[in-house]
């Protein structure tokens, strides 16, 4: 184990003091996101036991909570918060294709006899 310890010459911790401080701040952000995700999970389970009049209301609330949690993971854990222009471009196209896929699915439901009654 000890032979694997970083030598001072190799250590990327040789990063500046300011860099180490930024990493410590980053760790605090991770802990904050973890707390938010835990609360989000609790809310997701709790909302299932709350009475909603229509299915679409339940679905909307569940997906809004899930989207908020996903945004936290993508922004902080996956470092998108730090502004990675080319990744944004890539994700934009992914989002467009995924949205088209879902739109076609929903659209096709209206052309099937007897289906899509939740949407009408």
């Amino acid at each position: 184990m000890s032979d694997m310890s970083p030598s001072p010459a190799l250590s990327i911790a040789a990063a500046s003091q300011a860099g180490a401080q930024e990493l410590r701040r980053e760790q605090k952000r991770y802990l904050a996101v973890y707390a938010a995700l835990t609360v989000g999970t609790t809310l997701t389970v709790a909302m299932y036991y709350v009475h909603f009049d229509a299915l679409w209301q339940t679905v909307s609330v569940a997906l809004v909570i899930a989207a908020a949690k996903a945004a936290c993971v993508a922004a902080i854990f996956m470092h998108l918060w730090h502004g990675q222009r080319d990744v944004y471009r890539l994700l934009f196209f992914t989002g467009v294709f995924a949205a088209t896929l879902f739109a076609l699915t929903i659209y096709s439901l209206f052309s099937l006899p007897g289906s899509g009654h939740y949407l009408r």
């Binding site: 990493l23 760790q27 036991y49 899930a66 993508a74 294709f97 439901l109 949407l119």
Partner: protein, 303 residues
């Protein structure tokens, strides 16, 4: 053969190459899961009201598994920052916890699967009435209507049995313990029943025990029998496809982390920046897997 690798950040992309590669892979993964989710939406919305099963999955277990996966995402992120600060020991501790979380997630999922494989639904040629089987009173979601199928554990038979295997074994009847809380009731209806039971105290407990009392059904009356396996119906086919593929991703991510943590750790001595990058890109994959579960849990378990 040595694979060329550079840790330099490219001017045009603002990223090192491995990270661009991982994001491209994740984009393709998003489309893969997107296609499966859209298939799920198609089937779910297209199902007639009352036809989509409810209450067949264990919500507390699913919620706990969500927390396990979220915890592993935290430890992955913390391990990467530990490496960036040059603290290999701290990185190892965090990654060890990540692997424990991955094993726990897969273990719990495996237990859930086995529980499903040992649960059965029996469809009957002619519906059962509460007059004939008093223990079935109130089992249907709409009161005391006759029930055309019964869900529960069957005494004395293992997982994956079918009507054909039952007939081959020469059994003339089965003893099924119908589960009132697995009987096409939404979680809210289940919660209301449990609350009503608790408020009745000992009387409620006695009623619950009566409801769970076994029902003896002649094999000749059974039209179809299936464990909760993909062939059971559309719900379990989509459930096993989505969660199975996700579990394979968890397994793949855990294997990559284990490789980097143990045999791959030699790289730390020779090229620490590359080693740190490998943890970061594998971490990106892991967070994506977490992200997929964040949507899977409410969609499959709760809606």
């Amino acid at each position: 053969m040595k694979i060329p690798y550079t840790t330099e950040i490219r001017e045009d992309t603002g990223l090192y190459n491995a990270k661009v590669g991982m994001w491209l892979f994740l984009a393709s993964e998003a489309m893969l899961f997107g296609a499966l989710f859209s298939a799920y939406v198609f089937l779910r919305i297209g199902a007639w009201e009352g036809e989509w099963p409810h209450g067949l999955l264990n919500i507390p277990i699913g919620a706990f598994n969500t927390l396990v996966l979220i915890t592993s995402s935290l430890t992955v992120a913390m391990s990467w920052t530990s490496l960036k600060m040059g603290d290999l020991q701290r990185y190892r501790r965090f990654q060890f916890v990540t692997l424990i979380c991955a094993a726990a997630f897969l273990g719990i999922k495996g237990w859930e699967y086995f529980d499903k494989f040992s649960h059965y639904e029996i469809w009957l040629n002619d519906p059962l009435t509460s007059k004939e089987y008093p223990q079935l009173a109130g089992h249907s979601a709409d009161g005391d209507q006759p029930v055309s199928s019964v869900i529960g554990h069957i005494e004395g038979i293992g997982p994956f049995q079918t009507l054909a295997s039952l007939q081959e074994s020469g059994a003339s009847a089965v003893e099924i313990h119908p589960d009132a809380f697995h009987y096409r009731l939404s979680a809210r209806q289940q919660a209301e029943r449990r609350k009503a039971e608790r408020s009745l105290g000992a009387e409620g407990a006695r009623e619950a025990a009566e409801e769970h009392a076994s029902v003896r059904i002649d094999v000749s009356r059974i039209a179809r029998m299936s464990a909760f396996v993909p062939r059971h119906g559309t719900f379990f086919a989509t459930y096993f496809t989505l969660t199975g593929l996700h579990a394979l991703h968890v397994l793949g991510g855990a294997l990559m982390f284990a490789f980097i943590l143990w045999p791959g750790a030699r790289m730390w001595r020779d090229d620490p920046e590359r080693y740190t990058n490998s943890v970061e890109v594998t971490g990106l994959f892991w967070h994506f897997v977490d992200l997929v579960w964040i949507f899977l849990f409410p969609v499959i378990y709760l809606l």
